[in-house]
């Protein structure tokens, strides 16, 4: 019985994860500049991979495997903002300009002072 429920839950998590990854990929194509794209890649993309890890934790009835899946999930959640932040910072410092839609740019203003 419990195996039935976890299988259904894991299946739903897998589908949700794949859907999030697909949405993140669509975002990469649709949004106008690097900084707005980064919003999608850092949140939605990580969510996709993270949900798949949780699905593994649900289907494996084995202590160490569950623990590893959860550790992998936490690791993904901790590293995603760091890498997104580093890339955004590098691009900003070097002077890659945001798209023309951007009206407000305190960073460029403060740098030019």
């Amino acid at each position: 019985m419990i195996e039935e429920i976890t299988s259904y839950a894991a299946g739903v998590l897998l589908l949700a994860g794949a859907l999030f990854s697909l949405i993140a990929a669509i975002v990469l194509l649709r949004l106008p500049d690097l900084y707005t794209r980064m919003h999608a890649a850092s949140k939605t993309g990580t969510m996709g991979a993270g949900l798949s890890f949780l699905a593994i934790a649900l289907t494996a009835f084995d202590g160490p495997v569950i623990l590893r899946a959860i550790v992998g999930f936490i690791f993904l959640m901790l590293t995603a903002p760091v890498s997104a932040h580093l890339l955004a910072r590098a691009a900003c410092l070097v002077g890659y300009k945001p798209s023309n839609l951007t009206e407000l740019n305190d960073f460029a203003r403060d740098r030019s002072d």
Binding site: G17, A18, L29, L34, S52, S83, L87
Partner: protein, 106 residues
């Protein structure tokens, strides 16, 4: 549909969706237009790869794939950090070249 059947079905559908996501991300890598854009797309490609391996791990119920996925996550994170440093260093040297402003034309 029993639980195990549903899981297999979900795994196959997820593999299809992820393959499509892979393709879209590669279009972004090819189109660029700047290096940070490509680095971001590569980062995305790594997380899709992790999801892909995780789905295969469930489909085959072979838990060793989980370690592969975690290792890929580690390598992907380090690669993005290294690329970010590269972007920073490379850019500072060629700051005054006009070619670096290409992406604003989109």
């Amino acid at each position: 549909m029993s639980g195990a059947e549903f899981l297999q079905f979900a795994a196959v559908v997820s593999l299809g969706l992820l393959s499509f996501a892979f393709l879209l991300t590669i279009i972004r890598i090819v189109r660029g237009p700047t290096i940070p854009d490509r680095v971001l797309a590569l980062d995305m490609l790594v997380s899709i790869g992790i999801a892909y391996i995780a789905v295969v791990a469930i489909k085959t119920s072979f838990s060793l794939y989980l370690d592969v996925a975690i290792a890929l996550g580690l390598v992907g994170f380090l690669a993005t950090v290294a690329f970010a440093r590269y972007v920073q260093h490379r850019g500072l040297k060629r700051k005054n070249m006009p070619s670096d402003d290409r992406e604003t034309k989109q």
